[in-house]
Subunit: 501 residues, 2 copies
């Protein structure tokens, strides 16, 4: 028993953010059991505690997609290499990092080893999808014959493979989970409305559910999706003040309808190429959320996506007290289940102290802790402890049903406000490249600049400062005119530059 306690107590230690931010992030994920390394290069295991958050994300977004007329479908994961070669920009964007299936059989040798059966080589290699534009547009060729077949509003929940060199759980993994929408429209404008609508859904979801504040805007030419006409993005800031791209929505123009020769008969009897969008969010959202709210005590999970919202900790010393306290919890549990406004569980584990349990659930990021002991029962009250601030609130037992949803709602909003305030504090305005170069070294953050440079300029800026353009944020475009911080040209375009994950 003692051995076990020590072991667990040790495992509670988390590197402080100030000491080593990257290590802190990995500690949080490991100790809160959100994910772990799999032994397969760059691939993580999403543990039940982490996957439950992904399920909340899926359920909520799926509902939002369906309410706006989208349906789900499923396309093959293995894509023939030749499909990729149909769109030049696209293939050069993804060819360098993909898993390629070349054989369809293993061979068992008599000495017990096992390897690829070289006689079972595929006629054409298959790529594990790094994104599905090519396979989906090859299908749309059959789906789209007439203007009556449009629009097509399809989404897919799937796994994706990109052979990243440097990986980090949730933020960048060789395999990840995502949703990818692929739509087809009669006009450029319709596709534009769709791409913008999805960006708005993403922003609403990420801010209202994950409590992660974002800048929404347009990517520069240099940073857009390979094959896109233009790309919209939402970007947030981590606690080490770097940027994370958390969702993108692309207007693809007619790139893929041309590449796959998809034409439809218009109402006027002419053959036309449809316009396309694609858009996606990934398990990276979980990483961004961990980075936004967690602290040196562990994970902090926003109530609206927390798999468990309230945990009850019984406090007692004598067996009599234990009976009384546990039966009160039993009664509350039934009541809470009936009203069904939040999720609740009692930690009735024996032989673990309340203090140990406090730490354990803090580490796991559960938003609210409900403590009840014999004295509380005598007073008809109890303690609600907030995970995010540590604040303890004394609440009459008979008011829990109203107070808990109120407090959860308050926590949700206050997490967002705190992160937003942090982002605001570390968003700077600079005029010249020199001041930018200095500043971004001294004070990492979002740098708002007037920028009218070309893709080559962005590449040079990246080389010299490791910063990239994140987005032409909608909220920053005010028609004011300034000098481009890099080229000196006059422009009204204001762009956020930052170092990114």
């Amino acid at each position: 028993m003692a051995g076990r306690k020590t072991e667990k107590a040790n495992s509670l230690k988390i590197t402080k953010r100030d000491e080593d931010y990257s290590r802190w992030y990995l500690d949080i994920i490991e100790r809160a059991k959100l994910a772990e390394d799999s032994g397969v290069r760059g691939c993580m295991i999403i543990r039940p505690e982490g996957y439950a958050i992904w399920e909340k994300i899926q359920q909520t977004l799926d509902k939002m997609f369906k309410e706006t007329g989208h349906v789900n479908a499923y396309f093959p994961m293995l894509i023939p290499v030749s499909y990729f070669s149909k769109e030049a920009e696209h293939v050069s964007g993804f060819a360098k990092e993909c898993a390629v299936v070349t054989h369809h059989r293993l061979k068992l040798t008599e000495d017990g080893t096992i390897g690829v059966d070289t006689e079972a080589e595929l006629a054409e290699p298959l790529v594990v999808r790094p994104t599905s534009e090519t396979i989906i547009w090859s299908a749309y060729k059959n789906w789209i014959q007439s203007y009556r077949d449009l629009p097509i509003l399809v989404n897919q929940w799937a796994n994706i493979c990109r052979w990243e060199l440097r990986t980090r759980p949730f933020l960048r993994t060789a395999e990840f989970l995502w949703q990818e929408g692929h739509t087809a429209h009669i006009t450029y404008e319709e596709a534009e409305v769709e791409a913008r609508q999805i960006l708005q859904i993403y922003k609403t979801f990420v801010e209202d559910y994950l409590a992660v504040p974002v800048f929404d805007g347009l990517k520069t030419e240099n940073e857009k999706f390979p094959g896109a006409d233009h790309t919209y993005t939402i970007e947030t800031m981590t606690q080490d003040r770097r940027a994370i791209q958390v969702g993108t929505s692309h207007h693809l123009g007619t790139t893929f309808s041309h590449a796959f020769d998809v034409k439809y008969l218009s109402a006027q009897g002419t053959l036309e190429y449809p316009f396309a969008t694609s858009w996606g969010i990934t398990t990276r959202l979980i990483g961004a959320m961990i980075m936004a709210h967690s602290d040196d005590q562990g994970f902090v999970c926003p109530p609206r996506v927390a798999p468990l919202q309230v945990v009850g900790i019984p406090i007692y010393k004598t067996d009599d007290d234990k009976q009384t306290v546990l039966s009160k919890f039993e009664e509350l549990q039934q009541k809470f289940k009936l009203i069904d406004k939040f999720s609740f569980r009692v930690d009735a584990r024996e032989s673990l102290s309340p203090g140990f349990k406090f730490n354990d659930w803090e580490l796991k990021g559960i938003p609210l802790r409900l403590e009840i002991g014999p004295k509380d029962l005598a007073n008809g009250s109890c303690i609600l402890a907030r995970r995010d601030t540590g604040e303890k609130i004394n609440v009459p037992l008979d008011q829990l049903e109203e107070k808990i949803p109120e407090i959860l709602d308050f926590i949700q909003k206050s997490l967002f406000k705190k992160a937003q305030e942090f982002q605001r504090q570390h968003t700077y305005f600079v005029d010249t490249y020199d001041s930018f170069k200095n500043a971004i070294e001294q004070k990492p953050g979002f740098y708002v600049v007037y920028f009218a440079g070309a893709p080559e300029d962005e590449e040079k800026i990246k080389e010299e400062t490791k910063a990239t353009s994140r987005c032409i944020a909608f909220s920053l475009q005010d028609n004011s005119i300034g000098k481009c911080f890099y080229t000196g040209k006059e422009t009204s375009q204001r762009v956020i530059f930052a170092k990114a994950y």
Copy 2:
């Protein structure tokens, strides 16, 4: 317009079951737009109409799994070849048909072609998961240290790759979707309870939701899962009287805990190997369901998994009538949405005749059609037409809210009864191998026999008759003693043999 109508009318033609059962099945899938060939060998595209059924299956089963204490997680899709070699039976069961990733980059040549970059070969090939026991048990080595860590009750929703030679949409595809449960337990008996509980969940779901009657039972040694102690299965019959395995639940004993050296410290302080189960259902369920209920007019979908349950068809000739009928539908739609007891949609497409629409929705298997015309309105009544029987029911307009759920429920039950009766009629009892050989050629079906043969005997039977043992069905074991139909040995074991998909 005329051209379009003709085109659609032609596409309504479906091969009759009597003429060509296989072609009929493919026609149903194509015309009801459930799935289509992808151009990637053996891989299908699940179209929105088909995927919506999979979503119903997922939602319902996921709820049943969670109600029995299971949680979801996600493990990597790419499994190092060496993991497979740790369990001999398992590897030989899956090595012959798997997609192997050997490279991580493509190469673009200057002449515009694209191929594998031979310089980017992986140190160890990776197999696209054909099932996940190996990767999951390699993770469980870290998860399971103490008896307190048990049981582990984890499920995964994922895509799977098996390089099947002959494929058929839904029933057997190179890539398919499934769920796979992987549990770990302290005792053999606990694992047994789990494997049986899951089989019961599968049977309940398949019978109550898909209206597909099954025999539940044990697989013979010859047919069990590679690496399992024993395998439970549910088996159903198609309309061409062949067997389909629609779900399996395996007691894995300690095969995988031994293979991956997973040990835990017991309450008594000893090191022990945990017992395991694994269990799965796949998109094959949709194929089995199509085969069970559909007819020569098209797909028949059981109400409980139908993406759309009731379709409204307005009948009118004059513009005035159109106004009146459509506004009645509008009113009903709002009322139905409010009571939220079934899904409903009006087919208000212009310039298509009611007859055309009747055919179209019949083809798609929508359980109930609601017809309203001006005469109906005058009488205060309407017609409900059942997809399964064609029966037309006259119902007062003000009773629709009660009648529709009743009728849907009745259809659900009657589809099950019909399929069950069909299965009963084609389940035969034979005593000798000679009579079996003749009978199964003349009258395909389920053949119940006393059987005490060895795996070699089953292989011979398969060679000679193409029939395999499907299961030792629970409902057929009555302690009666008979002579094994193949070996002549006395036995109480009664087994179903049939030709399978």
